[in-house]
Chain length 183, copies 4
Amino acid sequence: MRADAQDNRKRVLAAAEEIFGRTPGASTEDVAKLAGVGIGTVFRHFPTKTELLEAVLTVRLERLRDRATELAGEADAGAAFFGFFSQVVAEASTKLAIAEALLASGSAAGASARNAGAGMREAFGTLLSRAQQSDAVRDDADFPEVYALLIGASRGATAANLEPLVRDKMLEILYDGLRPDRS
Amino acid sequence: MRADAQDNRKRVLAAAEEIFGRTPGASTEDVAKLAGVGIGTVFRHFPTKTELLEAVLTVRLERLRDRATELAGEADAGAAFFGFFSQVVAEASTKLAIAEALLASGSAAGASARNAGAGMREAFGTLLSRAQQSDAVRDDADFPEVYALLIGASRGATAANLEPLVRDKMLEILYDGLRPDRS
Amino acid sequence: MRADAQDNRKRVLAAAEEIFGRTPGASTEDVAKLAGVGIGTVFRHFPTKTELLEAVLTVRLERLRDRATELAGEADAGAAFFGFFSQVVAEASTKLAIAEALLASGSAAGASARNAGAGMREAFGTLLSRAQQSDAVRDDADFPEVYALLIGASRGATAANLEPLVRDKMLEILYDGLRPDRS
Amino acid sequence: MRADAQDNRKRVLAAAEEIFGRTPGASTEDVAKLAGVGIGTVFRHFPTKTELLEAVLTVRLERLRDRATELAGEADAGAAFFGFFSQVVAEASTKLAIAEALLASGSAAGASARNAGAGMREAFGTLLSRAQQSDAVRDDADFPEVYALLIGASRGATAANLEPLVRDKMLEILYDGLRPDRS
DNA sequence: TATGAATGAGACTTCATTCAT
DNA sequence: GATGAATGAAGTCTCATTCAT
């Protein structure tokens, strides 16, 4: 692919992330406008609106996966786990809007997004295991429910449009539930 | 209003609840078809798609409010609180889809839905206070964060499409966080 | 026809005259509301919106015909002619709106309105002849062009939404053209 | 704008002028069909039916303004004035239908049409003044009533669907009224 | 007869997608 | 490759007309 084509692809992707993060119902034309390209260019790189949304979601998920992988190398496993959890929740609103837009487009996420999601979940699973091994998280919490809590906290924070302070208090309650019994 | 008109109104509302619960992006025509009436009838009862969505959401919220009010009379305040919490989460998926559809229709919930929402929150607040007075829920948990947890758990369960078993384990963790310190 | 049916018919007609005079694009429902009857009643008396409009127009035209016939008996033929002319122009706006509504309904005026129109034109023709015989109007002005002037002045006054003063000055110019040569 | 787009814009405008001139209540689809383009194309060039109608009306008014301006340079001021008057009346029917369609679309003419109208009136005012200065039109006729006569004659000719001969006789009467007193 | 709820064709408008330039 | 004009299916909503109550 030519260099300028590469460039355009990136600009479209960035524009899409911004627009769909704000307005899940935005039109493809809006994306083109923000990216500063013609609408034809958007469709050349992403033959379908669904594919564009998937690409955006994939980028987001890969970023999270990378962050999780990075944190997996840290010494304090508990801090790594809870730090990642908090960060995901803090950044949730944009990503969720995108996921919803994708859903509304009438398609479950395609292969690439699914892969990125799987990678992210795997990395998060590692963080969880290590936190449990170092006694920072209770042992009887299995991955599915912890992951559901991550999703739920993200969505709760987004939907209620929580102030950071309230969000932190919500997470503190949740983390208390996740920590091993102190008795 | 005539009896048959009442009937149709109910059928439209029921159809809308079912359809939008499944497919937030559904068309008004779909609702009419499921209700077995002409599209004109839908618009006669709900002059705007937004109003239809609001009506559906209002019904849902009123149902929850009534349930909360009812539980507020029970002897075991802790059981009442956690029972309501669990029920809301269990039934969340449909209601959430409706709320999303409403949002996508470009309007914050109107007066009636807002009222019903406020009523529901108030009743839930009462359940929380009583649970705290009877030492079933920790005292330092204020309403905003607890409500955010309710929303979040609902959305998490819905989004992840959790099996009941996993959902219960998720809630168990959450409830542990909400209970007073066990030390 | 029963007395109350007669009554309803009149009320519908009056309401239609008022509404269509103001708002040529008004709906039949609006007429029913103003008349204080159900929409079914409107359609029972006037099976078609077009027929309703025609009835209204017919009433108007008959009123004008009667006025012209009445004036034909007056002594001063010139005063009668110009008086009628001025009155028609002054009252034009409502009637025109109705005629337009009828036109927009996609039908030339039907039999009854045509008859009433013919009657009115005939009476106006008599006024003109008598005015010419008494030297109040020039002899070389034939009916078609004088009638066109009547229509035109009516429409001009209506369209331009003239103040009465300007309208009178306009008519004065026109009347000067209609009077016999002053040499 | 690309050449082919320019072309289509013109074709749509021409089609609209023809259709709305004949049938004020015509649908946008009809315009598209006559123009030989998809309905989407009509809306791309004129995002609203109202805007399309305005554009058509503006074109018409600008044409008249240009003609008036052109005539203002002629030597015989009287001939210029009466010539313009006659031409406006002769071409009135189409323009009027368009103006009505615009009115029915629920909007007073927008900026561009208003501007064009003002320009036309100004140019017509100049024609009038010059005709008065050269004693071709009576001095006590002010602009408002003369303009009302122009509108009225146009509408009268249109509404009555006059044959050219009758129209000319009507105008002759009107012009006699406008000329200075011959005594 | 009166009522007003039901109907559905048709209007305007949006937007994902295609294709000539 | 890029552009943006063209397309038309689909959605929301209106309203003349019909029909059950």
